[in-house]
Symmetry: C2
Subunit: 194 residues, 2 copies
């Protein structure tokens, strides 16, 4: 579990973390296993953890008044899952996070995260680099959602996250793109026929 | 110019920056004035600057094949403007950034930003805190764009950025929300009538 995280840290920061520094990280992050369909976060609760996915897949979503699910993010191996607003501000979340497959996670609370950022300069640097990546990815996602047609949204997904199409059901992918399952199915057939 | 930035830095980090540390920041950031309609970034160019807005308003947008503008972000006093993907990766941008009003900016290149992050721990901390805020704001924007109706999008904008409605024309606000100007106008009338 921790070895995967250690490799990940070294890769992201292009560094080699020392045993002493990694020990702070091991102390901050606990191992948590989740079965498929279990929840890491329920709407209305305060988000407890920042979770690093070692194995498995998760989704981060809201449910509207009509009972429709809206998937904001998927997460797979080497990705992070949390509602950062709720975690950082300690406010009730408007989101749910659940496991789409059995998952092995490394989790830290807000206090533990703050502490490890102080104790490990390399972890702090990783957090900064990741925020930058997230910021770029989110900007592209905002751009796609306001200006792409359904075809372009699906093509963009196929290009950037081809594994999602194998791993997640069509209705979830449609929700993630903000298009109807019928449109998703029609556009996918058209693209595949080309 | 720099005094506003200094206050901003102190506020964001809940600290008081020393003269010695602020000098690194003054050295890294140059003053740049822009007239309304001038461009900070053209599509196809590599983004040169991270810009802090001291006075004025800007927009960050793309133009699609049909010539339609899609506004990803607005920026006003105390906000940052840049295409971070292009700036960090030094790749051609798919966006334009221009001035909606006459602007006073403080700008730094990628190299200068990296340098000042090394020289000033407080600046580095500010960058980290801002990334976190951006990440939260972007997540809310993604969520709004995939699951809100046109009414909800406009209500959300009115709640979070009421000054935008006074400051920017309706067609730009409609583009920012990813709805047509006709829908924007109709929904706004309905909301105001309530």
């Amino acid at each position: 579990m921790y070895e995967f995280f250690r490799q990940y840290l070294n890769e992201i920061t292009s560094s080699i973390i020392s045993d002493a520094e990694f020990q702070h990280i091991e102390e901050a992050f606990a191992i948590k296993s989740m079965k498929k369909r279990q929840f890491l976060l329920h709407e209305g609760s305060v988000c407890k953890y920042m979770a690093f996915i070692v194995k498995g897949a998760m989704r981060h979503y809201s449910i509207d008044e009509k009972g429709n699910e809206h998937i904001v993010r998927f997460g797979v191996e080497g990705w992070w899952m949390s509602d950062r607003e709720s975690l950082r501000m300690q406010t009730p979340s408007k989101y749910n996070i659940d496991a789409l497959e059995d998952c092995d996670l490394l989790v830290a609370t807000n206090e533990q995260l703050n502490r490890v950022k102080e104790l490990s300069p390399l972890f702090f640097r990783m957090a900064h680099l990741l925020d930058e990546r997230h910021s770029i990815a989110n900007q592209n996602r905002v751009h796609a959602s306001i200006c792409y047609s359904s075809d372009e949204k699906l093509l963009d997904l196929m290009k950037n996250y081809p594994d999602f199409l194998q791993r997640f059901p069509q209705n979830m992918l449609a929700s993630y793109l903000g298009i109807s399952p019928e449109t998703f199915s029609r556009v996918r057939k058209q693209i595949n026929a080309k």
